[in-house]
């Protein structure tokens, strides 16, 4: 017989990525720390990630959530490419959220891409954490 004591509630796995040419990762690191303290398992990719790198890391790590942090202003060119790459890899089920210096006027277009929420400057960690907790899909529903 297999001894199966399934982990009652496994920690939510989150990938925090810094796409593109953007060397500012203080915000991302502070967020990584806050998510860790909220009990999440956080995989940080480091700087200068291409959409392909982000999708590949998300797939191999089988994360439930991807957080994209961007302060370069290139979000409207990078986000569509990232979302396309995720879809191409069959990762449609992953919850994607974004944060950084993103003008409010861009938010509707970003949400149209399938990014669930955008957290601008001044967003409370508690709001980000609550959003992830209530929207993260179940881990690996099927394989």
């Amino acid at each position: 017989m297999l001894s199966a004591d399934p982990h009652p509630r496994p920690p939510i796995r989150v990938l925090i990525a810094k796409p593109g040419l953007d060397g500012h990762d203080r915000g991302a690191k502070v967020l990584v720390r806050a998510l860790r303290d909220a009990g999440f398992e956080v995989i940080y990719t480091g700087l200068f990630q291409t959409p392909e790198m982000i999708a590949s890391a998300a797939m191999q790590e089988d994360v439930q959530v991807i957080g994209l942090s961007i302060l370069s202003g290139a979000h409207m060119s990078l986000f569509p490419r990232i979302m396309n790459e995720l879809r191409a890899q069959g990762l449609d089920g992953v919850l994607v959220v974004a944060g950084g210096t993103i003008p409010k006027s861009d938010i509707p277009a970003i949400k149209d891409l399938g990014i669930a929420e955008v957290f601008g400057p001044g967003a409370q960690f508690s709001a980000i954490i609550d959003f992830i907790r209530s929207h993260a899909p179940a881990p690996s529903p099927s394989w």
Binding site: D5, R13, R36, Q89, P139, W143
Partner: protein
């Protein structure tokens, strides 16, 4: 599902292996059943355990080693374990940062794993994931474990080759002859060899290892590397391959695998007992009464533990 079905699924969909890994890690029955079916297909991989104190450059060295392994046209999987917070259960898994360069290579698989507060259980879960990667056809599996210093010898229980990574400036010759990590090393590496003091560290380690028991059949190589520019990494891979060949020629591999199976079964029992213990409510009457007896000096802690264990076995 038969092993054949599962292997076909793993080959056909790149999402399948990571998802199966999650199920195994979460102790989900679907994962455990698949693992069970696959077990017969394991035993092909050479498993290298990589351990050493935090900050000595284990992840960077692995990234460099992965480049070398790929240059020899072998597929490679990396399993990187980082600690979970005992307070919140959260973890920052940061080893992948050093390994992002190979994202486009389908023959490199990198997975981060949090320790999730399982002590004996960590070896158990890690061993299960190693079996999965082994069955999935990675001939080389590198396991990076929580960078403990003198402890952390668990890694020896699931690796064919144990690689202990040190860096300059971590202590004197007495540290090097203390029991623990260094004595389980099949290959010892001094990384950051471009830093001041590297030569001294290597000399210290060499003289410490020269004090080893004279019946030790094999001389443990002590190598210098600089992970960031790849210096010494070709020699490191050669030393790992040499050790693999030595294991095969001396019949040592069979011996180690027997030991590994024993340790793994014991670790599994420990993990199951741990899970059972966690089911013991902290305010249960039996526990409270036992604690009170200890506080009042009516019973020693050792006796109290024995009575609780007896109650667990025969509830």
């Amino acid at each position: 599902m038969t092993a054949q079905d599962i292997l076909e699924r793993l080959r056909g969909d790149r999402r399948a292996l990571p998802r199966l890994a999650t199920l195994v890690e979460n102790n989900d029955l679907r994962g455990l059943e698949a693992l069970d079916a696959l077990y017969g297909a394991t035993g092909q991989a050479h498993v290298v355990g990589i351990t050493g104190p935090p900050g000595v450059g284990k992840s960077s060295l692995i990234a460099s080693l992965v480049e070398r392994i790929r240059a020899s046209e072998r597929r490679v999987a990396v399993l990187a374990v980082d600690p979970s917070s005992p307070l919140t259960g959260g973890a920052v898994l940061g080893d992948r940062i050093r390994m992002m360069g190979r994202h486009a290579d389908p023959d490199v698989f990198v997975r981060s794993m949090a320790s999730r507060g399982r002590q004996g259980g960590l070896a158990w879960t890690t061993a299960s994931l190693v079996h999965l990667l082994d069955a999935a056809g990675f001939p080389f599996i590198l396991v990076e474990t929580v960078g403990t210093g003198q402890d952390g010898t668990d890694i020896a229980s699931l690796a064919d080759t144990v690689m202990v990574v040190q860096a300059p400036g971590l202590g004197d010759g007495v540290q090097a002859i203390k029991a623990g990590l260094l004595e389980v090393g099949d290959v010892v590496v001094v990384n950051k060899s471009d830093q001041p003091g590297a030569g001294d560290t290597i000399r210290l380690l060499r003289s410490a290892f020269a004090l080893a028991h004279p019946t030790t059949a094999r001389v443990v190589p002590i190598l210098a590397t600089t992970a960031v520019d790849g210096a010494g990494v070709a020699e490191l891979l050669a030393a790992i391959d040499d050790h693999a060949a030595w294991l095969d020629s001396e019949g040592e591999r069979t011996h180690r695998r027997e030991q590994r199976a024993r340790t793994e079964v014991l670790a599994g029992i420990r993990a199951a007992l741990d899970a059972k213990l966690q089911g013991l409510p902290h305010d249960s009457g039996a526990l409270r009464a036992a604690v009170a007896r200890v506080v009042n000096k009516e019973q020693s802690p050792r006796r109290a533990v024995a009575s609780i264990l007896a109650a667990l076995e025969d509830p």
